[in-house]
Each structure stands twice: as structure tokens, then as C-alpha cells.
Symmetry: C2
Subunit: 469 residues, 2 copies
């Protein structure tokens, strides 16, 4: 209506030309070219957990992919405890259903591998799709010489509503198995194999110790892929974490839930939740020591909780860094709330507001939209938001003093020049201080929730409005 | 990050040039030029309710507005019953607080006028703002020669966090009062005075009869303004409805709540809810007859409910037609649901999904995104969404057969050529059939919820990402 068809098409073409170096792919990237601005997020080495080996293999799930890896295999020499957090979407893809069943049946024990394909989500594919997912895992187990009981978790990401080219995949699983390796390059190639619309592979690793054996070094590695969703594919949030620390299945499940709620479930690219989202963790205990058990009274448990939560936060933030069309990385911190859940709902609402996201793209110190989003957040407990105790500020990333926008419900005279400087940066932190809500400053300080998100740009619209070509 | 600062600015400038005829204003439009594509929504005559007169007056609430009306006055010769639905945002603007108090104090009776300014929202303005809103209403009452008891509802829309230029407004209220008139041109000028980012005034009127006196003609008129929100203003959804039918205060309140939940609360431009949203109705009974009372057993009540709901639906749809950057007008119908509230939540979630909205902008028959939004809708009752009973189709506006995309959870082979033709149209209806949910086809047919929304375009980002200039 506003823009005639032809002019809209021209416009999109113009944009596509203008944003070169940010080209988006609809399955594993075809040219492996990583934008210069993203190179800094790719590690040149890593500390990978003992006993794990990985591979990225070319299958050509999408016919257009003639040479780049689109099948990832992650395996442990010994059985692992394992846990996973799955999408809450009611339309659950076949691999989600199959992996959940395996974890339940095996009670989170005896898991050896995770196999992942990109290029096709195996979602809304009926009984055939369930068989395909089951067969993918069984083929991996067969290569490992394992028996009847399934030991492999399965994930898929890509086009929805299409069956997997299952013969092609099954025929390449022996190659994936025979090329398993623990080098940094293999980890990177594996992280690349799970990419769809991502512009760079997302891989991190770290070492840590536990209080019960301070001399022992453990490793934790993880890979993830983007949460933006592009038609005709429905890209998905996938993540795999591997550690050589010994952790009971019960503890692993609790640790992962806690970590994901503060990381992968505290990021927003566009607020949509896919049919395939899965974050899994495997712990093989290869580095030895006493198992971490599920108890808040255990020093090891609390230490592991901190390590895993921080690690998943760093990993999930890479997804926001690669948000479709993103030009900004924004942290929103809702603090001094009488209630954690309410604080998180408020942070999430700000992170999802198209008005806040477009204002950030426009580098506009628009506290009105932030405040408005605070005010319309649904399901916030009574007494959490008290207008004349609410403050909003921008916290610059350079460590300079924060820029106050609203103090106790009163608008500040904003220094626009300083605001412009702060908003010029890629990174920004928005602080919403609830001042303790109805409890007042005396009762404040208890709860804080953080969300990470990106802006909405012209390129987001271009990417997601594109014709299926 | 992706787009360097300068190139982003150039890009926006390019767009601004490309979308001429869709220029957006940040207060009452300065040039009164209505885009050619919107002319069809402006009535050339109307049937206005007896005993009401209206005026649009130039105040210059924003200094840049040197001649166009930005103060609307709607008055009845005789006292009216009145009711209003206000924003649920926790940050409630001063006029919202003042109008709510007046309606409570007067128990929905004895209301004579509504006074509205555009150009400044009088939101987050503290005690001074409350005094300003009270004084605006009192000045109108004074012109009417009315005593101490407040009889005027107050609304404001525009910039947030700034005080009203109250002396200027108060000094022009006598002019607004002395120019009250019941001509079509006055109604149109009044509708124009409440506009902010709207590209056209939104005014409708109709006549109707009630079963108890079929020979008597009643009139109903209404005006509204847009729901898109632009910085530095926070545009607001405002609406005023006037009828000469006699309706008790109690009945009016119930009728308005019912109608708004199926109209103004069933539209989405960007999902944000402002601090000022208000829909009010005044009934002066000037056309005579027996008062409509609050009872579902009353034929008149049920007839009035149908009239008012349909009228508010048509009026609220004009807001979607003028959605910021909108190129599409989309109806989403969620049918055969075992539960109405769940169906409405699902419709609302589809209407707010950035992925669905950008796909529609790109004219893409992307049922995957629609299905995905159905699946991640929060707070849906158990047994409402059953994947293999869910169907999705496009219903063309030309009356041709619907295009099935998904039938009972199974993807259809989509006729892309036909899809392209359907998506070329400005109007589209998406039908999500829940097949009765867990109750199955036998139990189906009960509940249906409808939402109206528009797409997300490049222009939306341009408008909302614009610098404050």
C-alpha cells in the first residue's frame, strides 16, 4: 500500500547491496566467509574437555551446499551423564521428541554422543520424521559398536515441513565417526557445521577447578547457533556443552536448568521461540575427582553452578552478537526488584519491544519507550513497579558515569551530546532501577534480572521479508 | 556494527525519499496532506447524534504547529451517561488519572464534554501535570456555565515527560467552545485535531434502531487516532464515541468493555501499550425512547451490543490501516477453539510476531512462522493446541477458495503462484483452525477470536529509528 511492489523490491535489492559482508545463508554457510567485524568472536585455540572428540562433515543436506560441513558429531570415549532443556513450543520437532525420550528412558545416564544436522529441521514431519531422527542416533551408536539402548542425542535445524535426506545423512555418519578428533580445528569445524543463518561459528571453552580438589583442572567447552529465524528455514537455538568434570545426572539437570534460565532463556533476537530449540550438556568425568551432587549445601555444586551459568551467558551472548541485522548489543538490567520473576518479565518485555529496538537502532536516548515497556509488562506482581520509585539510566561500556534519564519517576534534563556518544558504541547497558518497589529503598537490593538483546534494523526486515528464492 | 554510522544514515535518508506521500508527523499534521491511498477512508458526510456539537481549534501545543487544529472539544447540550476504558500501563498519564476519577466520582453520569489536546501527552509530569489536566476540564465546564462538579473528561497525546503549555490551551478553550458546531466539517476537523502520527483523520458514523422502538432512528459517531508510537512523542490510542440513544451508565460501561475487548483490544500495530490509551463513550439520550439497561435478557441491550461492537471494530480497523509503515491489513481468525481466551492469546501472538509480520511484508506464504507462533503462545489452556488437529490457511479477500497451507498438522504442497496472487493484495485473512483441540471435531465450533494487524516494513524501522530532529 505505502510502497508499491516494484519499489519495495528495488528497495530490498538496494539494501542487500548496501549490507555486503553481512550476507545471510539459509543453511550451513556456503562460502565460509566470516564478516571482518565478527572475526574477533572466533577463538584461535581452546581448552577442550578430556575424552571428547568431535567432527564436522559435509553431507549436502541442502543440495546447494556442495562442500561445507553440515553434520556435527560430538562423542565421548566413555559414557556420560547428560541433561537437556528443550523448546516449550507445542509443535516439537522430531529430534526434540526423540532426544527427550532417550534422556528419560536412560535417566540421564549412559549417553555417548550428540549428532546434529543443519539444513533441515525435521519438524512437522510426522511419524517418518520420528523414524529418521531415531535412525540418525542409532547409526552413530552402531559406529561406536554400542548395542540396543540408544546413547546418542539428536538435533536438527533448518527448513521446516520437509523430510530429511536421511539416506545421505546415514551414509555419511561413518565418515563423521572415523574423523572424530579433539583438535581445536575439529571443534571449530563442528561448531560451523551446526550453523544456518549464523555469520560465524560460536565456540567457547574454559578451565575451572572445584573446591573439593583445587589442584585438578577441569575443562568445559560449548558451541551454539543463532536464534534468528529465517524463511524458508526456521533457524533454531541449539547448544551443546561438554565437560570432563564428574557430575551426577540429577545435579547436571538442575545445573543446566539454572544456567539456561539466566542465559539462553535471557536473550532475545526477535522474541520468537522455535520448534527445535535444544541445549544439551554431557559430563564424562574423565578428569577425575568426586562427583558433583545435587545439593545447594555442596561447595562443589555451588562452584559448578557459577561456572556453568557464566559460561552459558558468554555463549548465549554470541547469539545476540549475531542477531539478524543487529547493529547493537544491549544489556538490560532490572535491579532492586522485590521479586525476581517480575524483574525478568520486565527485562524480557523491554528486550522484545519493537519501539525500544528501533530507537536503539536509531541511537535515540528514548527512555519514554523503555518506561512504557516497564509499565505494560504482563503478570508483574503487585508492588513491584511504583512509578515514583522507578529510575532509568544508560551505563556506558567505557566505565564512565551512568547517564540518568529518569530518577524516581521524574524526567532528567538529558545531556544529548553525551547520549549521542554513548549510543554510538556497539555495546550499551540499560539499567532500570525499581527502587525496591512498594517495599521502598529500605527493602531494595534483593533481586536483579538481566537480559541481552539486539536492535531492529532495516536489515532485519530485509532478511526476514525476503522472497523465497 | 553491520552498517557503519554514515551508511545507516544515508540509508534512512534514501528511504525517507522513497516513501514520499507517507510522511509522518510528530504532532497534529502540519500540511493536512492526506496520502492518495488513504483518501478512501475519509467520509464525505455523516449521520451525527442529536445534541452533540464539536470543534477543532488551533492552539500550537507544539510551537512548530502554526495553524492546524490540535485541540478537540466534544460537547453535549444535555448531561450524558459516560464510560471509558483506560490503558493498563502502570505509568498512567495525568489525564487518565483525572478522567478516571471524574467517572468514578460522578458514577458515570452528568458528563457533558470531552476535551483533547495533541502534541503533548501530559505523561510523567507529576502533580503539576494532574493540575493541568484538571484545569483543562474545569475551563470547559466554566464555558458551559457549569458549577463545581467536574463534567468534562480529558485526554492528551504527544510528547511524554513534558508539561503542557497550559496557559495557551486554557486561553483557547473559549474559542473551542464558541465554535462548537454539528456539521460534518466540524466533526472531521475535530477528528483531525486529535491526530499525531496519523496520516489521515479517523471518523465514522452510523444510524441504528432498537427493538423496543423500531420507528426511531438513533445515531452513533466516533473518532480515533493511531496506535503506532513515535519518539519523541509517544502516540496513543484515543477514541471518543457519541450516541443519542438513552443508555444507563451501568449498561454503557458493560457495553463498552465488551466492544473494546473485541475491537481496540484486538488490534496490533507494534504490540506496545501507551501511558495514555483511552476510549470513552457518551450517551445523551437526545433521540428519546426507553433507556437501554444492563441485562442480557433485554433485546435492546443485545442489539446495542452488536451495534457498538461492530462499530468499534470498524473504527479500530482504521488504526491498523494507518499502522506505521504498514503495507498490509491482515485479519487473523483462530477458530474451533475449546476456549475463547486461549484463541485470543494465540491470535494476539501471531499478530505480534516480528517474523510473521516481516514475512507478510515480503509476501511470503510462510505458514511455518504462523504455526510456530501458535506453538509458543503463553498461557494457553491445556488441550487447546493439538498439533495433528491444527490447520492453517489463507482466505483471499476476493471470495475465492481458501489456500490450505497445513491440514491437521500435515504440510500441504502449496500452490506458490496462487499464494503470490493472494499476497499481492493489501488485505489478507489468515485462518488458524484448532479443530476443537483435545475435544476433537465433535466438540469443535464453539469459540473464535479475531485480531487485526499490519506488517513490519522497512518504513516502520525508518519511522521509529529516526533521530530526534
Amino acid at each position: 500500500m505505502a510502497i508499491p511492489a516494484q519499489s519495495a523490491a528495488t528497495t530490498m535489492a538496494t539494501f542487500t547491496r548496501m549490507v555486503k559482508g553481512q550476507v545471510r545463508h539459509y543453511s550451513a554457510p556456503l562460502d565460509m566467509a566470516i564478516p571482518a567485524s565478527k572475526q574477533k568472536y572466533i577463538p584461535s585455540s581452546g581448552s577442550y574437555p578430556k575424552g571428547f572428540s568431535v567432527s564436522g562433515t559435509h553431507v549436502g543436506v541442502k543440495a546447494s551446499n556442495t562442500k561445507f560441513p553440515d553434520l556435527a558429531l560430538i562423542s565421548s570415549e566413555t559414557p556420560c551423564t547428560a541433561a537437556a532443556v528443550f523448546t516449550t513450543n507445542k509443535f516439537q520437532a522430531a529430534p526434540v521428541q526423540v532426544s527427550r525420550n532417550i534422556l528419560q528412558t536412560r535417566q540421564g545416564q549412559g549417553i555417548r554422543s550428540v549428532v546434529i544436522n543443519s539444513g533441515c529441521a525435521n519438524a512437522v514431519t510426522g511419524k517418518g520424521g520420528l523414524e529418521d531422527a531415531t535412525n540418525m542416533g542409532a547409526k552413530v551408536d552402531e559406529c561406536h559398536g554400542l548395542g540396543e539402548e540408544p546413547s546418542t542425542l539428536v538435533m536438527s535445524t533448518g527448513v521446516i515441513g520437509q523430510r530429511l535426506p536421511i539416506s545421505k545423512i546415514l551414509s555419511k555418519i561413518p565418515t563423521a565417526h572415523s574423523t572424530l578428533s579433539s583438535t581445536h580445528d575439529s571443534w571449530l569445524s563442528t561448531a560451523r557445521a551446526i550453523c544456518t543463518t549464523d555469520t560465524f561459528p560460536k565456540l567457547l571453552s574454559t578451565t575451572f577447578t572445584l573446591p573439593s580438589s583445587p589442584g585438578r583442572t577441569y575443562s568445559l567447552a560449548g558451541m551454539t547457533k543463532g536464534a534468528g529465524m529465517i524463511h524458508p528455514n526456521m533457524a533454531t537455538l541449539l547448544g551443546v556443552l561438554c565437560t570432563d568434570a564428574p557430575i551426577t545426572a540429577d545435579a547436571l539437570s538442575a545445573l543446566l536448568k539454572h544456567a539456561v534460565s539466566r542465559s539462553f532463556n535471557a536473550i532475545s533476537v526477535d522474541g520468537d521461540t522455535s520448534t527445535n530449540d535444544t541445549i544439551a550438556i554431557l559430563a564424562n568425568g574423565a578428569a577425575g575427582g568426586a562427583p558433583v551432587t545435587n545439593s545447594q549445601n555442596s561447595d562443589d555444586y555451588r562452584a559448578m553452578q557459577t561456572v556453568l551459568t557464566r559460561f552459558t551467558q558468554s555463549l548465549s551472548q554470541l547469539v545476540v552478537r549475531d542477531g539478524e541485522g543487529a547493529t547493537k548489543f544491549v544489556t538490560v538490567r532490572v535491579q532492586n526488584s522485590p521479586d525476581y520473576d517480575s524483574a525478568k518479565l520486565i527485562a524480557s518485555t523491554i528486550a522484545r519491544s519493537p519501539l525500544v529496538k528501533t530507537a536503539l537502532y536509531g541511537r535515540d536516548a528514548n527512555w519514554g519507550r523503555i518506561l512504557c515497556a516497564v509499565g505494560y509488562t504482563q503478570n508483574v506482581k503487585d508492588g513491584v513497579v511504583v512509578p515514583d520509585r522507578t529510575s532509568v539510566s544508560f551505563r556506558p561500556v567505557d566505565g564512565s558515569p551512568e547517564l540518568k534519564l529518569l530518577v524516581n519517576g521524574e524526567p532528567e534534563q538529558v545531556d544529548e551530546a553525551r547520549a549521542a556518544v554513548i549510543l554510538q558504541e556497539e555495546d550499551l547497558e540499560i539499567v532500570v532501577d525499581l527502587g525496591g518497589g512498594a517495599l521502598g529503598p529500605q527493602g531494595a537490593g534483593g533481586e536483579e534480572a538481566v537480559y541481552w538483546f539486539c536492535d531492529f534494523s532495516h536489515e532485519y526486515v530485509t532478511i526476514n521479508g525476503d522472497y523465497r528464492t
